[in-house]
Symmetry: C2
Subunit: 150 residues, 2 copies
Amino acid sequence: MAGQTIGRIAAAADCKVQTVRYYESIGLLPEPVRSPGNQRLYGAATVERLRFIRHARALAFPIDAIRDLLSLADRPDQPCDAVDSIARTQLLEVEQRIDRLTALKTELERMIAQCSGGHIANCRVIESLGDHDLCVTDHGEEGGLGPPQR
Amino acid sequence: MAGQTIGRIAAAADCKVQTVRYYESIGLLPEPVRSPGNQRLYGAATVERLRFIRHARALAFPIDAIRDLLSLADRPDQPCDAVDSIARTQLLEVEQRIDRLTALKTELERMIAQCSGGHIANCRVIESLGDHDLCVTDHGEEGGLGPPQR
DNA sequence: CTTGCACCTGCAGTCGCTGAAGGTTCTAGC
DNA sequence: GCTAGAACCTTCAGCGACTGCAGGTGCAAG
C-alpha cells in the first residue's frame, strides 16, 4: 500500500487540495511521508482524519474545537464528557445564531411589508434602516458585528 | 455648528472609531472636512449616514448592498422597487442561513442525544463526526464552507 | 504649563480558506 | 524513449469587515 496522493484524499473528503495543505500547516493533519519526488503520500488513517475534520467544519465547529475533538478522539479510554461538552457548546452557538437571525428576519419582513411601492422619499425600508428605534425586536448583532464564529 | 469629532459620531452610531475610518476608506462615508489640526469633523448628515450603515450591517446586509441602498437613498424621486428588491434578497439570504443552521442544529442534537456518557471508544459524537453517512439531514454547507455572507 | 485623553497614519492580524505564480514530477500515449 | 499535460510542489497575496497596535500629534481641563 503505497498511499494516496493529496488530490485523491482531497476528493475523498470533498475539499480542495490547498485546504489539505492548509490543515497540515496549522497542525490539524500530520506531516505525511513523501514520495521520492517529494510528493505527499497519505495512509488510510489520515484520510479518515480529514473526513472527520471536514464533517465537523460542515457542522460549523471552529478549528480550535476540532483540534480538541481530534486529540480526544485519539484517547479512546477517556470518558467522553469533554467531547459532549464541546458538542453542547457548539449546539448553543448554533441556537444563538438561529435566534439572532430570526430577529433579523422579523425586522426585514416588517420593513418590506410596510413598503407601499411608491417613491424612495416615502420608502419605509430606507426610513427603517435610518432609524433603529423603529425596530420591534432587539436584533443585537449578527451580520459581522463581533466575531463571526463560523 | 463646528461639527462632531470622530469619537462622538462613532459613539452615536455605536461603533469603533476605526470602523468609521474604515468606512471612509472604502468609500461608504465621504471624506469629511478637517480641523486646523487635521482632525475629522462631521456634520449631521454624515452622522445619519453612519447610523444607516450600522443598522443595515446589524441586519446583515453586505457592504455592497449597503452601498447600493445609500445611492438609492440619495435619489428620493426614484421608485423604490430597487430598494425593495435588495431587502427581499437580504431576507432570502437570512432565511437560507436559518434553514442551514437549523439542519446543523438537528444533527448536533442527534449526535448529543446518542451519547450515553461512556468512553470515547464508543462515543457516538466522535463516530458521527467521522462518518457523514450517519447524518439524517443534508446540512450542506454553513460554517465556513463557501463565502460567509455576513 | 502640564497631564492625559482623543486623534492621526499606516500596517498587521483575525478566520478559514482560495487563487495565482512559477517551478517540478508523474503518468499516459505514441 | 519521448513528449504532452495533468498533478504536484512552495510561497505569497487576497477575501470581508473589521480590530488592534505602534508611534506620533492635537487639544482641552486643571
